[in-house]
Amino acid sequence: MTGRPSSEAKVSREPSPATDRIVEIRGRGLPLRGNDIDTDRIMPARYLRVVSFEGLEGHLFEDDRKSDPRHPFNDPRFAGATLLVVNRNFGCGSSREHAPQGLARCGIRAIVGESFSEIFQGNAAMLGIPCFVADPSSIGRLQELIERTPDAVLDANVESETIVAGSLQVTATLPAALRDGFVSGQWNPTSLLLARFDEVRAVANHLPYISGF
């Protein structure tokens, strides 16, 4: 079996660092309390019956929002928010990218939480959405601040790994590779993965199950 890296010749360009760097995200916040919020809740499976991601924002947390009129995504005070503040193990379960796609299309540009599922954090990164991790008390303070003053502007900085909201400043970290990707503008790896395809072929051809044992 041999690779057919016909993609190679067609790579348009490396991402332009000037336009694709993601260092600072500023905007109002949206506090979403609760642990272990899975991607089935973020985007119910019946809305995966689609062949594009368009319009998914309309179904974000649909069942939770219907059962709870006071759900933060129903609350007009938080409409137009940019930073989502969540608790523990956010985005667990299904690997559906439809979940972060819905959030992105709803205007969310960064998420701050106590912890994330690995797949969700990676999927969000592929869309240019950093998932910052902060300690539970910092998350609690951020959520309280936003609930008290929904108009407060938060400033999340990927490079300095801080979230600033008025007089409140908290440390919020990212996995080093994701952080460097956002800062350098190389958070979408497709072109990098295609850049040196001869090396890919060399590794593949060396694998016993490809060379026929």
Binding site: M1, G3, R4, P5, S6, S7, K10, V11, S12, D36, D38, D40, R41, P44, A45, R46, R49, V50, V51, S52, F53, D63, R88, N89, C92, G93, S94, S95, R96, E97, S115, F116, S117, E118, I119, G122, N123, L127, A177, L178, S184, Q186, P189, T190, L192, L193, L194, R196, F197, E199, V200, V203, A204, H206, L207, P208, Y209, I210, G212, F213
Partner: protein
């Protein structure tokens, strides 16, 4: 220096270190299904990219396929559109596809190992979190999102960071009526739904050693429910016997050469682990979930703990201190990539044989693949289930996630052999899922309520040879 299987496989597939410090990892097998791929193919077209290794890419339809009638066009128009889109994409990019009308079609995690596509030492990716299933034969297999599906299609590679490895030893004998599903539910309960984040789980110990590959698949399948993106078992003689003669497995002399490579991949004695956990199999009882995540479970003889989460109790309508045993059920579902294989159906059939589903229960069996359905039918299992009042359906994901028309209604309670009891998971926003082994689902279907399968096991002399 001794190494784990994870590190050996990772190193063999590492292309280079990317500027971010991530590894460019070659993906040996890419599995594709209809739900998470259409947008990825569109992205390829948008950027003028092609599929780098179409011969290492295989597709099937599983999530939205109807399980009642396979007649095309499907009555469900969206199912038809998604199936057609996958057919068109696979044709355009030269990828093998098993459509619903082919004998090979089935849940991607059931057919991969059954066809011998899944082999020890491979890296395997699929736009589906239950890809961890394939670790049962000693592969490093994990779920990815659609943008990553695009990357694998375009380059056969992913940008990733290595995982830590936690060794989970399960030692001792499982009692009759206790299954692989109970083992993994117990592991998740012990380590938590987030405990595995950042880890690959390496399962071992005498209990795992004695398990069949199908049982190991059940265990590895739910690694992700414990937060671990990958889970695996070191390849051994059971693995090699399972693979021999399978369609895509190496044949003849190549098989023997493959076995000698596969043997060397197993974790070395003294390999370093980032963490170790030991579980005594003799303490595991039939296990059932009471909450809204797979870590919220109890043994059948146990009461819901005092520390139980309020939100979960309110959603499920349970109270602290009561047992799940005796809970009236509305639906019984046997199937899914966790427990939709032949041995699962055989074990469930043992329980229902000669009994009938309680009158108020809707019960269905959804084989994991067309091949599983054929094998089960050859053994007469469909007749056993039908005689007992179960519906015998076509292969697919079905009521595990309710993407086709098999869904819970309202607040129905479902005894389910699937993998997730999330709010709304089985298609009704207020539907309630109780996860358990297929044998426990069979017992619940007959009793009309959650029951202890140990009290319903046929006496040894009644067990068919």
């Amino acid at each position: 220096m001794p190494q784990t299987l994870f590190h050996k496989v990772w190193n063999a597939h590492s292309v280079r270190t990317l500027p971010s410090g991530q590894t460019q990892l070659f993906v040996g097998l890419h599995l594709v299904h209809e739900v998470t791929s259409p947008q990825a193919f569109d992205m390829l077209r948008q950027h003028g990219l092609n599929v780098a290794y179409p011969d290492r890419t295989f597709a099937t339809v599983d999530h939205i396929v109807p399980t009642d009638s396979r007649r095309r066009p499907f009555i469900d128009l969206m199912a038809e559109e998604m199936t057609t889109a996958l057919e068109r994409n696979c044709r355009e990019f030269g990828i093998s596809l098993w459509s619903p009308d082919t004998p090979e079609q089935g849940i991607v995690h059931v057919i991969g190992p059954a066809l011998g596509l899944t082999q020890p030492g491979m890296t395997i990716a699929c736009g589906d979190s239950h890809t961890s299933t394939h670790g049962a034969v000693g592969a490093i297999a994990f779920g990815i999102g659609t943008s990553q599906v695009r990357d694998v299609l375009a380059s056969q590679c992913l940008a990733m960071e290595p995982m830590k490895v936690r060794r989970i030893d399960v030692n001792g004998r499982l009692a009759a009526g206790v299954y692989a599903k109970d083992v993994i539910l117990t592991i998740i309960r012990r380590l938590g739904v987030q405990g595995g984040v950042g880890y690959a789980y390496e399962y071992g110990g005498s209990t795992i050693d004695r398990m069949t590959i199908e049982e190991r698949m059940t265990v590895c399948n739910m690694s992700i429910e414990g937060g671990a993106r990958a889970g695996y078992v070191n390849p051994d003689d059971t693995t090699f016997a399972f693979l021999r003669g399978r369609r895509f497995a190496p044949q003849g002399d190549a098989f023997d050469r493959a076995v000698s490579w596969w043997r060397k991949l197993a974790s070395d004695p003294g390999a370093p682990y980032d963490d170790r956990v030991e579980i005594d199999a003799s303490t595991i009882e039939p296990t059932v979930t009471w909450g809204i995540n797979p870590g919220q479970s109890v043994s059948i003889s146990e009461s819901i703990p005092g520390s139980a989460d309020e939100e979960a109790l309110a959603f499920m309508g349970f109270e602290r201190g009561r047992r799940v045993q005796g809970t009236r059920i509305d639906v019984a579902f046997i199937g899914s990539c966790t427990n939709g294989r032949l041995s699962d159906l055989e074990e469930a059939a043992r329980i229902v044989r000669g009994h009938h589903v309680a009158p108020h229960v809707k019960a269905l069996v959804v084989p994991g693949s067309n091949a599983v359905a054929r094998e089960a039918e050859a053994r007469g299992l469909h007749e056993v289930f039908r005689a007992a009042g179960f519906e015998w359906r076509g292969a697919g994901c079905s009521m595990c996630l309710g993407m086709n028309t098999d869904r819970l209604e309202g607040r129905q309670v479902c005894a389910s052999s699937s993998n997730r009891n999330f709010k709304g998971r089985q298609g009704s926003p207020t539907g309630r899922t109780l996860l358990m082994s297929p044998a426990m689902v069979a017992a619940a279907a007959v009793a009309g309520e959650v029951a202890d399968v140990r009290q319903m096991l046929p006496a040894p002399e009644e067990v068919p040879a």
